[in-house]
């Protein structure tokens, strides 16, 4: 029996769709098994097409992106109603994504910066017609509806997608790996004695040695090993875009915990090494962090 599949986009860059399309001929292995019933990124489906389907009629629903507008929230709820298995597809869907970093500011400040004070805008005004209302904060989708499977990644690699899809189509469970990016990285790791942190463009990287040992902020140790360490293997420090290692509750807190242990420098110097700790340590999962939750709650109380 073919499986009915729906692929929905909330607020996102649609990179996850790109990653799926990048499977090229690999898609042929799964295509005969599936029937795509909703995929607005590629075919002209409308929201009402999805709404008119019976509940639980979709075998696998994939949701990418996070909820920045009320329309996103509505689409997410519809997807939950219609899908038997709901997959959080990509890190935006799992942990809020890069747009989660916006939770550092209030909605008014964000709207003001984006629409009124943007450098390229000549006729500043806030759009009000035919646009959905913004949500106050970016909440991780898993806080809004229940998900059955998480597939983090920014975007998940084509191989991750193929693995997940083949498992789900055949009815097997899809479990996230216990490993970190470091486990997949081929560089030689030694005892860490970090005396100084460098920006990526500073100094020369020794391609055989661990980037963190050399003083580059590579977050592979705290990041889930799904990507195959594609960045560190080409001498680019890991930014942690796939989200934390499984069962880690707070990505950034875990990172500063590790940095405090391996950095051999005065606390003040360590503090000055990272001008923007939230941007550096919560690249794609700030919305799921404790800090963001505390701020969101604080804002909500103030509004009352």
């Amino acid at each position: 029996m073919t499986k009915r599949i729906a692929l929905a986009q909330l607020t996102s860059c649609w990179g996850c769709d790109q990653s799926l399309v990048d499977l090229h001929l690999g898609l042929l292995t799964v295509l005969p098994e599936i029937e795509i019933v909703f995929w607005p990124a590629v075919v002209d489906f409308k929201l009402k097409d999805l709404e008119s389907m019976p509940d639980q009629s979709i075998h696998i629903g994939l949701v990418e992106g996070s909820c920045r507008t009320e329309e996103d929230v509505h689409l997410l709820n519809v997807m939950r109603e219609k899908s038997k298995t709901l997959v959080a597809w990509g890190v935006c869907s799992c942990y809020g994504g890069i747009q989660g970093l916006a939770n550092q500011w209030n909605l008014e400040e964000l709207v003001d910066r984006k629409f009124m004070k943007a450098d390229t805008v000549t006729d500043p005004r806030v759009p009000s017609e035919n646009v959905p209302v913004f949500t106050e904060t970016v909440q991780p989708n898993v806080d809004i509806v229940e998900f059955d499977v998480l597939l983090p990644g920014c975007p998940p690699t084509s191989k991750n997608l193929l693995d997940a899809l083949t498992a789900l189509i055949s009815g097997k469970p899809f479990d996230l790996p216990e490993k970190s990016v470091c486990d997949q990285c081929s560089k030689v790791k030694q005892d860490k004695h970090i005396k100084e942190f460098h920006r990526t463009h500073e100094g020369h990287i020794d391609p055989s040695k661990c980037l963190l040992d050399q003083g580059y902020l590579c977050l592979g140790f705290a990041t889930i090993g799904l990507c195959g360490a594609i960045c560190p293997n080409v001498n680019t420090p890991c930014k942690g875009c796939f989200g934390p290692v499984i069962r880690v509750r707070d990505h950034g807190a875990k990172i500063i915990s590790a940095l405090g242990a391996v950095a051999e420098m005065e606390p003040d110097k360590l503090r000055e090494s990272f001008p923007d700790p939230i941007g550096s340590f919560y690249f794609t999962d700030y919305a799921a962090s404790y800090l963001s939750r505390i701020r969101t709650e604080t804002r909500r109380k103030k509004k009352k």
């Binding site: 809004i144 998900f147 950034g252 875990k254 500063i256 940095l259 405090g260 505390i294 604080t298």
Partner: protein, 173 residues
Amino acid sequence: MFKELYKSRLRCQGVTNGLTAAGQKSASTQKPKTKVEDRFEPRILAFCCNWCSYAGADLAGTSRMQMPPNMRIIRVNCTGRIDPVFVLEALNQGADGVLISGCHPGDCHYTTGNLKMKSRFALLQKMLEEAGIEPERVHLQWASAAEGDVFTQGITSMVERIKALGPNPVKKD
């Protein structure tokens, strides 16, 4: 709309294949208040290391030193064991402040655990500041086993500091 969102968030059961803070609910751990308090009495969580500060707190107790009763102490083997996640979790559950008390630099039973905490604390404070949460809610102090008075003083000033800040907005009422 948002009220509904939060309700549905409480309803959701988390997901099956592992998760971060996202799946953690803090609401269930709160005890309902029995009466309305007129005066704000902060609830402060203290992490004390087994070898210095916990013994110092003990000394303060046996010497009958006076200190405010707002502190709940958790004993850890070393301040180096304290993950910043513990501190954030405490704040997220409604603690008004978190005090970390350990051995003086150089006195650590495990040689450098307290120094690791100091480094983590520096980054944690910066992160709190950037996130818009008062960094004064988290405090690091050193108090040896012989310094019951230093411990008492630390707690007293911590309580004063938190009283000036007001309650943690996350606290459920």
